[in-house]
């Protein structure tokens, strides 16, 4: 579903992403790990078509993001980091806007999609509140609802559980697992336990390069008995 081929991105003279390649199949939940500034978010922004890669490309469902960004964008649900949304709109208005721009032009179809997304993310109690008045957990769910709204074959989630309390984290993980069977999911996180809990594959990226691409079980087997964060540290600090 997602094919990433040699993505490169420079910020000034810094090579933020340096030849990242991987593929994600339907049913995969790919955990994208790495220290802050390793290039996780930048890679995700290039796959979703927000940033133009300096070299390489990404294919989503066979569509090349550099040639046909609109086709890619219509097949991807994307939750950007910190879940930006138009704060002056109510939850319903905002999701209605997303539905309309996602191609649900009739008000019935729009209503149906909005209700579905509200139900999946349990946002119904705050549907008439403006987004700027919501707590961080609810804002994050609004971002999640927006990404799920059109039932996309590909989900790209930048730190989906960031800022949530343990119960909410658990809910989000359950939801991702439930949805993943017919989708390709990429999620970035700092929480190593999250990877073990839901991911079927792990990619660790450090200084713009992929250093690990394997299953969580293989990752754990690298240093039997060691804690996950110890393995992570040894992999991401050795080359600095």
């Amino acid at each position: 579903m997602i094919e990433v081929k040699g993505l490169v991105k420079h910020y000034g003279s810094k090579r933020a992403v340096d030849g990242v390649s991987f593929t994600v199949n339907r049913g995969d939940i790919l955990g994208f790990l790495g220290p802050n500034g390793a290039g996780k978010s930048t890679t995700m922004k290039m796959i979703t078509g927000f940033l133009r890669p300096d070299a390489g490309t990404a294919l989503v469902d066979g569509h090349d993001v550099t040639d046909d960004p609109v086709a890619v964008k219509s097949r991807v649900g994307y939750l950007p980091e910190s879940a930006p949304a138009y704060g002056e709109m109510t939850v319903e208005e905002f999701l209605g806007f997303i539905a309309e721009i996602r191609g649900f032009k009739s008000s019935d179809a729009r209503h149906e999609q909005v209700e579905r997304a509200l139900g999946l993310t349990q946002l119904a109690p705050v549907r008439t509140q403006t987004i700027e008045t919501l707590s961080k957990g609810y804002k994050q769910r609004v971002g999640f609802a927006q990404a799920l709204l059109h039932n996309p074959p590909v989900l790209i989630l930048d730190e989906p559980t960031d800022g949530l309390d343990p119960n909410q984290k658990n809910e989000v993980r359950t939801l991702i697992k439930k949805l993943a069977s017919e989708k390709a999911v990429v999620l970035s996180t700092h929480i190593l336990e999250e990877v073990e809990a839901i991911c079927t594959r792990v990619i660790i990226i450090s200084q713009g390069k992929v250093v690990v691409d394997e299953t969580p079980a293989q990752f754990r087997a690298r240093q039997p008995g060691a804690r996950l964060d110890e393995i992570f540290r040894s992999l991401t600090t050795s080359d600095t």
Partner: protein
């Protein structure tokens, strides 16, 4: 191009979801009518004409349109919603046009809300309706050009203050080039043809004929092409 309409709707209604619209409309109407009464001598002139109302528009727009336009893109950049907008299935051009037309429609509403002035001169005297209509047309076209400049400068920064200052500066130059006092000063250093050439790039030069009831195609073309050119640069600035 079908994606312009959801962006337009969201943006246009967005003005009225926050106090911005009401503050702007009140200030705009108080300032434009106040200038006509107290500086322009609307009553003292004893003429059934709106000349003293329209003559201040280029000067009023110089400050008020950057105030309305500064947030167009800066706000999206500051809050991060630009990442949301440009990962939706929409082209940069559609987003630029949707936002521009929404802001232009809002300014048109503001300008047309001065209709009690029209009613007043119609009740008290026998005005030349053609002149009033062409003045309104000229004012709305000129507002579009000011807004094009503001939309462009707004796309260059995420800081609204910088956006406002840059817009005022750019509009000031475009206004001054045609201001008689400034042209008089230029005549001292430049040949007549050079001053005339520069004056041709000014809002004021092209707005004048409209207020006399004359609609020259070249004036309409000036405003439309200036608007088109700034919006083109706007797309380029966002895609870079």
């Amino acid at each position: 191009m079908s994606q312009i309409s959801p962006v337009f709707k969201r943006e246009f209604l967005g003005y009225f979801r926050s106090p911005v619209a009401y503050v702007f409309l009140i200030v705009f109407l108080m300032a434009s009518v106040g200038l006509a009464f107290f500086i322009g001598g609307f009553f003292k002139a004893n003429l059934a004409s709106l000349d003293s109302f329209f003559v201040f528009h280029p000067w009023l727009f110089l400050f008020l349109i950057p105030a309305a336009g500064m947030r167009l893109w800066s706000e999206e950049k500051r809050t991060g919603t630009i990442e949301l907008l440009f990962t939706l299935p929409i082209t940069t051009l559609e987003a630029v046009l949707g936002k521009f037309f929404a802001a232009w429609a809002f300014l048109t509403v503001a300008i047309l809300l001065s209709f009690p002035m029209v009613v007043t001169v119609g009740y008290l005297g026998n005005p030349d309706w053609g002149v009033i209509a062409s003045s309104y047309l000229g004012s709305i076209l000129m507002a579009g050009s000011y807004l094009g400049v503001c939309s462009l400068t707004s796309a260059l920064t995420k800081n609204q203050v910088i956006s406002f200052v840059l817009s005022v500066l750019a509009c000031l130059v475009l206004l001054f080039l045609g201001w008689s006092v400034f042209n008089g000063a230029l005549h001292a250093v430049l040949p007549v043809w050079a001053v005339d050439l520069l004056a041709n790039f000014s809002f004021a030069t092209h707005f004048n004929a409209f207020t006399k009831g004359i609609i020259y195609p070249k004036d309409v073309a000036f405003f439309l092409s200036l608007t088109g050119f700034t919006l083109f640069l706007n797309v380029v600035a966002l895609e870079r």
